[in-house]
């Protein structure tokens, strides 16, 4: 369970998160929608401790992420994150990209890590690209590799930060299919996305962020069918 309690966060004078309260239950798929600058991506990087927060707390399975005593490297093994920019490690093959963290962080043996990596890469449909360098892959393939790389750490939670935004429209579908597959496997996921159709289809709940505030949260049918706040109505009208 991920519990977010009254989290505030500023970059300089700009307050990007103005007191967020949100609980994500195990097995749940939560999507976050909202305009740019609404703070939704920042929230994700706060959840795995890549960004500090100014006040409030974030608990992952009861462990406070930003507490001094928390071993972030250990905590992050539980929380996979995939970014808009896939950040493939260019000097490693696809297989090595995925094997790196299991080997170095978890101390897995080479055969075990390789078996795990192959399994995850096959899962995302890259079983035939193992010994290829990322520069030879399309954006969609690199993004699927990044997903496999995160999954290879057997995380309990997966965070997706606009993972299709930097892709050619042609390649969005294959990545979303991978996310759907994960959702159907029962993975707990938080997806920040601009893909409304996807949000409607896979989410258990959809949250709408507006100017650093979670303006509305509801199951997709409700949120998309009967938006309450005028801001959400405007947002949906603009993206439709």
């Amino acid at each position: 369970m991920i519990e977010i309690q009254n989290v505030r966060k500023s970059f300089g004078a700009l307050e990007v998160l103005k007191g967020i309260d949100l609980t994500v239950h195990n097995g749940e798929v939560l999507t976050i929608i909202g305009g740019s600058g609404s703070g939704k991506s920042t929230l994700l990087t706060c959840i795995n401790g890549l960004e500090p927060i100014d006040s409030g707390r974030i608990l992952v399975d009861g462990t406070e992420v930003h507490a001094r005593s928390t071993d972030l490297n250990k905590l992050r093994q539980k929380i996979g994150i995939v970014f808009q920019q896939w950040n493939a490690f260019p000097h490693l093959t696809v297989l090595e990209n995925v094997m790196l963290a299991p080997r170095k962080v978890k101390g897995m043996s080479k055969p075990d890590a390789e078996a795990m990596a192959v399994k995850q890469l096959e899962h995302v449909g890259l079983g035939d690209k193992l010994s290829v360098y990322p520069s030879r892959l399309s954006g969609g393939q690199q993004q699927r590799m990044a997903i496999a790389r995160a999954l290879a750490m057997s995380p309990k939670y997966m965070l997706f930060d606009e993972v299709t935004s930097a892709l050619d429209p042609m390649l969005v579908g294959e990545v979303l299919d991978t996310l759907r597959l994960l959702a159907s496997d029962g993975m707990t996921m938080i997806c920040v996305t601009h893909e409304m159709k996807f949000a409607r289809e896979v989410s258990d709940r959809v949250a709408f962020f507006h100017q650093g505030v979670m303006a509305e949260i509801a199951p997709p049918a409700e949120l998309f069918g009967a938006p309450k706040s005028p801001d959400l109505q405007k947002f949906l009208a603009a993206t439709a």
Binding site: N73, Q77, G80, F89, L100, K104, Y133
Partner: protein
Amino acid sequence: MFNYTFQWKQALARLPQMLDGAVVTMQVALLSMAIGIALAVVLTLFRLSRSRILSGIATSWVEIARNTPALFQIYMAHFGVASFGIHFSPWTSLLLGITFNNAGYLAENFRGALKAIPDTQARAGRSLGLSELQAFRFIVMPQMLRISFLPMTNQMVWAILMTSLGVTVGMNTDLYGVTQDLNALTFRTFELFAVAAVIFYLITKIIQLGARLLARRMFRY
């Protein structure tokens, strides 16, 4: 045409001794590069660290190495440290001087290379649970060394050329030192040093060729 008789045979007769010297020259240069690269990585980490003392040490090292003559650095390693009662052999002084120089120049190259690697690379590593040092070691450093490969090759050539300075602190087993000693015996200055020059030239070409082949093998991405 010249009022001078070239006596190449005399010089060529000494070729075996000079080639022995060339081996010493290459040993010193290679060793100074290996240690220099390791030190440059450490200096780079110092400069990235949040400690003012460490980054101060690294910056001073880099600036002194880059802004004083290599010969001065070798003198320091020999005559300078002698003031503290430490007496290094010419071989050690030469190695220390060149290594100091290599590390400084390479650290500066590494800093330039780091600018070409996006922060998101290390960030992606950290998000997988790698520690700061692991992210550097496994993700940033290999890319940094790859980008710096050509400057490293150039520095290796420099290291070869710098070995000739060892003679100033009494080194006489390297290519230049051997040539100098032979010159004192035979006075065939031009012929002997011309042969030495050819050997130096060939060594640098071999290094450049070797580096190119190595790069092709190592960097396939």
